[in-house]
Each structure stands twice: as C-alpha cells, then as structure tokens.
C-alpha cells in the first residue's frame, strides 16, 4: 500500500520511526534554532538592522520638513533641473522624498558620521535601493521612516527606485555623495 491508498497499518501513528529519518528531523530542528538565534544575535551585536522608528505623516508635512532642510543646507545645484545638493551637518535629521519619478534632493554626507535619514513617499510606494551598496527599503506614502545610517565608504551612490511606480519608474534614480 502506498501514499495514494489508505495506510495499510490501521494504527499507523504507533509505527516506530526510521532511525535516519529521526536523525534528520533532529538536525533540521537544531538548524532552525540556529537561524532563529542569528536574527536575535544580529539585533544585539550586528551593525545592520532596520530601524523600527516610524511615524504617521502627511505628504504636506513631510514636504515642508524637507523643504526646510533644503533651504538651510543647500550647497549647490546640479543638472539643468537645478536639483539642490544638500549638505546637512553630521548627526542631523536628513529628509529624502520619493515621488514620481525622482528622489529629492541630492544628499552629501560625510564618511564615518551618523545621520538620521527620514524617508517618505508623496504618491505611490517607492523602493529605496542604494547602489552599489545594495541596501533595499520599502518607502510608503503617509509614513515617515527614520533610519540611523552611517556611510562607511566614500563615493558616489545611486538610489534606484525598485518598487514599480508606473511608466517612468525606470527613470527614477537619485544620488547620494559620501565625502
């Protein structure tokens, strides 16, 4: 009798287990515990954990805060669209808007310093995908996500949008400079 027929032994739940099968279950169980432990371990000792700090916001409020930062710390503009490049002091609050189809403004940060990066979207959801680092975070409208970031290498970084946001999705690329 096989798997497509009723079990030949009526009281199948009393049949003894195969030794190798039991060994495998034990190994698999221990491995599952290790993997569970790793997530907890990394929260305590690891340096890359996604922040839980999130606030409800509105598009207007978040845009106003970003504008205030831009007004205060813009150092120059780039491209013919005059996109501001903002250089906020180390340790400060930094705002980044995702909207159809741009990340705004451009940020200039210092290597080895920590910043509080606030992320929110103005319309659809967007995807913050920092390249070539490959850090990927979902960005929601009406939520303000606050992350403490510490860039550890200088260079020019791109923010690719990797949450589909309509026909211009592929043009949505932003920039962060780390000096």
């Amino acid at each position: 009798m096989s798997a497509i027929s009723p079990p030949a032994e009526r009281v199948w739940w009393k049949a003894p287990l195969d030794k190798l099968e039991l060994t495998w279950i034990a190994i698999a169980f221990v491995w599952s515990l290790v993997m569970f432990g790793m997530m907890v371990y990394w929260h305590i000792y690891g340096n890359q954990n996604l922040a839980n700090e999130t606030y409800k916001t509105t598009k207007e409020m978040f845009a106003a805060k970003t504008q205030a930062m831009v007004d205060k710390y813009t150092v120059r503009t780039e491209t013919d669209q005059q996109i501001p490049v903002v250089k906020p002091p180390a340790g400060s609050d930094v705002y980044l808007i995702g909207r159809l189809w741009a990340w705004w403004p451009i940020l200039e940060l210092e290597k080895g310093k920590q910043y509080k990066l606030h992320l929110s979207a103005m319309d659809y959801m967007h995807g913050f995908s920092l390249q070539p680092q490959n850090i990927n975070i979902q960005v929601h409208p009406n939520y303000e996500h606050v992350l403490k970031i510490s860039p550890n290498q200088s260079g020019t970084y791109s923010i690719v949008c990797n949450e589909y946001c309509g026909i211009g999705h592929h043009t949505m690329v932003g920039r962060i400079y780390v000096k």
């Binding site: 890359q48 954990n49 070539p132 949450e163 211009g168």
Partner: protein, 561 residues
Amino acid sequence: MATTYRICPRSGLQFDTDAEKLMRWNAVAGVLALLVGGIMALGVILTRWPAVHLLPADQFYMVLTAHGVDMLLFWIIFFEMAVLYFASSTLLHCRLATPKIAWLGFWLMAIGAVMTNVAIFQGESSVMFTSYVPMQAKPHFYLGLILFAVGALLGCFVFLGTLVVAKAEKTYEGSIPLVTFGALTAAIIAIFTIASGAVILIPTFLWSVGYIREIDTIMYRVVWWAMGHSSQQINVSAHVAIWYAIAAIVFGAKPMSEKVSRTAFLLYILFLQLASAHHLLSDPGVGSEWKVVNTSYFMYFAVLASMIHGMTVPGAIEQAQRAKGFNKGLFEWLRKAPWGNPAFSAMFLSLIGFGFLGGISGVMMGTEQLNLLIHNTIYVPGHFHATVVIGTTLAFMGLTYFLVPVLFKREVLFPGFAKLQPYLFGLSMYVMALVMMGAGTLGVSRRHWDMAFAGSPFAYEWPGAAYLMMGLTGISGVVAVIGGGGWILQIVFSLLFGKKLDEGETRSTPVPLTLPAPAGGQAAHAPSTPGTMVLALIFLTSFILYYFVNWKYLSSLWGLA
C-alpha cells in the same frame, strides 16, 4: 442523473464520471492560462534581456502584469482544483459531493479569469498581480479576481464535502491516504487564504469604484500577503502531495512513516498563516519582534516541515528501490531510477530544484536583516521561479504525463520529446533562477523596464557582471519558454489527436477500498536509506554555507540602526 463510475484499465483507478469531467475541464482551463502566461513570459524575457529589449515600457508592464496573474493565479489554481477532485473522489473511491456546485465554482473561476485578463489587456490596469495601492486598476480587474476566488472557494468546499461523504458512506477503510491528507492541507490553507483575499480585495474593489476614499498602504501589504504568501503554501502542499503520489505510482513507494509525513503537513497549517511578515521585512511601521517571531514561525517550523518532506520523499523511493534489489553502494537505487519516464524525471527535478534553489534562497530572504540585501531585486523572482515553476509547475507537468492516458484516455504523442521535456524545461529554469538570483545579488531591480535608465538625469552604471547575468537570464528564459511551450503543444495534440485508449468498465456502484488482511507476524523491515541521508547532508552543507556568506556580505554594508 445517477452517478456512474469508470474503472481505468491502465491504472486501476476508479473515476466518478462527473468528477472526471470536472478534472478534465479544470486541467484544460489551467493549461490555457499557462499558454497565455507563457506567451507573456516571452515578452517579459525578451524585454529584460538587455541586448534585445523588445517591448516599450507600457507594454512591458502590461505583459508582466498578465504574466504574474495568469501563471501564479489562474494556471496553478485551476490545476489545483483538478488535483483536489482527484485526491478526494478518485483516491477515496467516492462520488463527488454536489457536482453542480463544483461546476458553478468552475464557471465563476473561468468568468473571473477572463474578466481580469480583459481588464489587463485593455491597458490601464498594469498594476502587477500584487496591485499595491494607491496605484489603481479598473474595477473589473479586482472584480474578476474576486469571482475567481469565490469559485475556488466553492471547489474547496466540494472537496471537503467529498471527504465527509466518503467517510459517511464508508468507501474506504482506515485513514485517508497520505496524498489526500496533503490535499486536505492545501484546501484548509486555501480557505484561510481566500478569506484574507476577500478582506483586502473587496475594499480595494470598492475603492476603485469610489465608495472608499483611501486604503492604508502598510495595512494593504500585510493583508494582501496574508493571501499572497499562504497561497504559496497551497502550492507547496499540493506539489509535495504530487511528489508522494508520483513516487507511489512509479515505484509503489510507501511513505517512510505516515506519522512523520502527516505531522509535517500539519505543521504547514499550523505555522504558515502568519507568513505575510516575510514580505514586509524591509517595510517601516511593523516592529522587529513581529518580524522575527513571524518569519521564524516560532523557530522555522514550516521550514522544518519542508526539510522533512524533502527527505522522506526520496527516502521512500530509496526504500522501494532497495526492496527491489537495487542495493549496490549508496546510489544504485537512484542511478537505476526510470530517468526516461517524464513523470519521474519531472518530479525528481522538481524536488531537487525546489529544495536547493527555492528553499535555501527563500530562507535567506526570509531572514529579517538579510532581506535588506535583496528586497525588490530580481533575486525575488529568481527565488520564486525555483519554487512555483521548478517546484509546482514542473510537478504538475509530470503528473499530467500520467493523467493523459488515465484521465483523458489518450496516448501521449511524441514520446521522444516527452522523455526530454522535463530536462529541457526544468534545467533551463534552474539556470534562469540562478542567474536571476545572481543579478539580484548585484542589486538589479525586479519589475524594471530599463537597466540603462534611459531618460534619467543620473543613470546608474550596473557592473558588467549584472549585464552578463541578465543576458543569461534572457537566453535560459527563451529555452524555458521553448520547453514549456513544447509541453503545451504536446499535451494539446495528444488530447486532440492521440490514439484513443480503452475506456474501461463503467458501473453504477463504486468498488469500496478495502485494506489487505494484516500480514502475519512482524512486517518485513524496511531497508535503510543511507543514500538519501547523504543527499540531505549535502543539502544542509550548501544551506549553511550560503546562509553565512550572506551574513558576511551584510556586515560589510553601511551601518544601519
């Protein structure tokens, strides 16, 4: 009309004539959806192949929406309805409960599938199968999905009803077969899934027609994935049940232990419902504790269950083969397996690919912090083509090779191609899944029309390796479309023009299933399974290495807190 039963002369299986017709119609509807989805796959792959970049952006997103919906929902769920009816009515030698309701379910699903497809191809509903708010599709996009889901729900109830009838009418002795138990798991998860689907799709439909002003985006993702992820659990339960079924049909394999395999199915039901968390690991607004507890499902009980099935299915085959005398060394049982039988080769490729490619990558992605590395990159579709294509779709294809003569009473045409097909489709999918994961590890986005960012003020230059991986994705994807398209043609031609086979006896009363008299004394001791254990340990070693390599990669990134 009175119920009649046909006894298949080739397999000895007994089919309720109504149930048989429902299985055929559901399977055919599924194959039609696969055909549409497969044509779309060609559009998708030829656009994502950077050197070809075939379609314009608007068509690409439309075609990708259709690909996801037709494949993941319509192809798989139609076929699963056939599997449910087979596992209940046929395996239990029972009449199907309320065939009229089963037909109503079928037609609701069919109307829903057509409606949603119409909405997609009218344009203006290119929202992907996840239809994240606040991007809005036309109302009939959502309405079609709702009708489809209601139809599937009816099918699940007919399945459960049939189990009740079988029990009441005593058509079998003892407990239900393991495969039926697996299908029961799938049906129970399906009911939960569809309920979650209703909770999110009905308000979204009302929002699209203007009765609701706004839908919260985080809430949407939590509830949508309660449906979206659990429905993958339906697929896993269904294809694992099919692995057991094919092992039983091809080898007469008996489960190593009924208790272990059934408990493992039960773990799916108990621990997979909260899985939507692992789609939100890189989202704000949901806490780390919630993420860790839910993704580890209290210490990965569901992963444990899959690891158990992954061992007990080949273990059962090894036992059956060793009992037949293939006892030399560790692997004679496997070398001497019928590799030219497409039902077997499809099943075995499905099992290995699902475990090694789909399983390992899935656990990596489902780890809270590691998810940051690949969220929304093309790694994600790489992973799930290993699960729903290599795992589910290939297993369904394998089962179909068995069903054509048994259920459709036709000989399979082009047997030479049939021998090859599982390798052609399966192995090209192995490659495609791998190179997509490779490109995703380098950061390449999913659902993205142009890696070169044409028209953007600051195009990002991907590393050459990323272009190489996407080129290989294109090539292997085209081979996979040929392997999948070939399968569709072969099955359709066999159904239309294959040699008609003997119907077998038709009778008006079912033959009940009886258990053989208990064997005198101690049952023969089942052979040990060292070969399977070695395979399992190779699997574990790859798993551990890959898992920690990713932690190493993560530790090199910018600090995040």
